[in-house]
């Protein structure tokens, strides 16, 4: 075979079979074993937890159950709506605050007063205000991501190296050129940071909101398993939330790589 293919194969082999991976596998296996034995030997804390062996049984039952996947769909839908709304409102707001000093002055202090309130503290107000449970959950999700997005966009857009905007002006740019060709691309990394962090918060809020007030979704599944005494299903619910959250962040990272080719290489 060609040496190139061989080298690539070697590289792959090195990537998979090395000490780091081995050690990681060992420790994860050890943890699983401890968890399993914890239930059998009634170790403190672990005693009450459903053991991995019980969980596997539940997983097989759930994977073929369409209702389980409907919960995934419900959570994703909420996340998407709240998250997108936060981007659509937050990014322009952050950019506006960064580009107009007067607007920054007038809005920033009000913004900073509201920001430290944890998003979940808004739940009751949101329930009172919005007509349906669904819309009130969406509103809290929106709030969770919104503040992070605005702060990140604002920070990114305000910290653009003045040399870039000045160089652009010297080269004959109009204000619209400066905004679209300089400010926007220069803020893009911060926008994506904000999105990634916001996505994390979004999932936290979705889970909590579904537990408190939901009728469907992965958070609801987890909570109802607890209420219904189906303890292994709690862990499956948690795992599903973890995987779903991870997939969402991964999607954002992927989008970031596509949108910012100049950061890709080094």
């Amino acid at each position: 075979m060609s040496t190139g293919a061989n080298a690539a194969l070697n590289k792959l082999r090195k990537k998979i079979f090395n000490r780091t991976v081995l050690r990681g596998t060992v420790s994860v296996c050890l943890c699983l074993a401890l968890w399993e034995l914890g239930r059998a030997f009634k170790l403190p804390l672990l005693e009450a937890m459903p053991a991995p062996s019980e969980i596997f049984g539940v997983i097989w039952k759930l994977v073929v159950d369409p209702k389980f996947w409907a919960n995934w769909g419900a959570s994703y839908q909420r996340v998407l709506v709240g998250f997108l709304a936060a981007q659509v409102v937050g990014i322009p707001l952050g950019l506006a605050m960064a580009t107009s000093k007067a607007f920054y002055d007038i809005s920033f202090s009000a913004f900073e007063i509201v920001r430290p309130i944890p998003p979940l503290a808004w739940v009751p107000i949101s329930i009172i205000f919005w007509p349906t449970t669904e819309s009130s959950i969406a509103f809290v999700i929106f709030l969770g991501a919104f503040f992070t997005v605005v702060i990140n966009v604002l920070g990114g857009a305000r910290n653009i190296d003045a040399r870039f905007t000045r160089a652009a002006i010297s080269l004959g740019s109009r204000p619209s050129d400066v905004f679209f060709k300089i400010v926007l691309p220069a803020t893009l990394p911060s926008i994506f940071t904000g999105m990634a962090v916001g996505m994390g918060i979004t999932w936290e809020v979705v889970v909590a909101a579904e537990m408190i007030a939901g009728k469907s979704g992965l958070g609801y599944l987890t909570w109802s398993s607890y209420v219904g005494g189906n303890y292994p299903q709690i862990v499956v619910g948690m795992m599903s939330i973890g995987i779903a959250g991870y997939l969402s962040s991964y999607a954002i990272r992927l989008l970031g790589r596509v949108c910012m080719p100049w950061l890709r290489i080094f």
Partner: protein, 288 residues
């Protein structure tokens, strides 16, 4: 030649009594105080001064990014109101836009000007990239280029706009000694060829004398022009000239002035002035 413009543009910049303060009373810093000088048409003027003396402020004022508190700047007799494409700044280190390829960076000026047909832009960009030896790198992003290549990219981006006045703000800062030397020789050939009005700002005395037609020495905060020197080394310049008696004479003369300034800067708490003072002490006071 790509930038075969019709007639050579005349550009003379006169700076009169420029004063600029930052902060608030009584804590304001008077960065420039009654600073006056002229950039003559077609001449390469080098401005040198201790670090933190207000050189960057002066550049911002000249380019129109900032407004002076007193005094005025005249370009061919007309006052400067704001930034304009007749004056172009090449910034410290590099200000190539990291999100554009080399090609995109060089083509930026004509693209936003929107008055040159696309093919013509392409032709000029290609020619300029070739001239600075970056034709193979036009699809690369600035972070993929070496320090020297980034500086040449800047040069191409500057030349395509063909500004009447070019302001270079310590463009070689952050390069290693060898690249720096190569870049100095490279820039001097290009600038000699263009023979337009150029203000080159630096804090390195050797670099300053090597490049200059005229040397302006700036005082420490608040900045003003302390001394003007005509550098009459023959052109085209080369590095061998740095050994001549004539050059050493210029250097000595400039250092005397800078030394007095560095003492003041040091007294004002500047860290880098300390190095300068010691260097001067070694080279001149002990020699005597």
């Amino acid at each position: 030649m790509a930038e075969a413009t019709n007639a050579p543009r005349r550009a003379e910049v006169t700076v009169e009594g420029l004063t600029k303060r930052y902060g608030y009373h009584p804590f304001w810093h008077e960065v420039l105080a009654d600073c006056s000088f002229t950039l003559r048409d077609g001449e390469l003027t080098v401005l040198i001064g201790p670090s933190g003396c207000g050189k960057s402020t002066l550049i911002n004022l000249l380019a129109g990014y900032d407004k002076p508190d007193q005094g005025r700047i005249l370009l061919n007799g007309a006052p400067v109101a704001g930034p304009g494409s007749d004056r172009l700044v090449v910034f410290q280190e590099t200000a190539l836009f990291p999100w554009m390829t080399t090609y995109g960076n060089v083509a930026y000026g004509p693209r936003v000007a929107r008055n040159v047909p696309k093919e013509r832009v392409d032709e000029r960009v290609q020619a300029l990239l070739e001239k600075v030896g970056l034709q193979d790198f036009k699809a690369k992003y600035p972070s993929q280029l070496s320090g020297g290549m980034q500086r040449r990219g800047e040069l191409a981006r500057m030349m395509i706009n063909d500004p009447a006045v070019t302001i270079l703000d310590e463009p070689f800062r952050g390069l290693d000694a060898m690249t720096r030397e190569l870049m100095q020789e490279y820039f001097v050939t290009i600038l000699e060829e263009r023979s337009q009005t150029v203000l080159f700002v630096t804090s390195e005395i050797d670099e300053a004398i090597f490049l200059a037609d005229r040397l302006l020495i700036m005082s420490n905060r608040p900045g003003a022009i302390l001394k003007e020197m005509e550098i009459k080394l023959p052109r085209p310049r080369n590095k061998d000239m740095l050994q001549t008696e004539e050059y050493l004479g210029y250097k000595r003369e400039a250092l005397e002035v800078l030394h007095a300034e560095a003492i003041k800067a040091f007294a004002g708490g500047s860290k880098s002035a300390q190095d300068f003072l010691e260097a001067f002490h070694k080279e001149h006071v002990e020699q005597a």
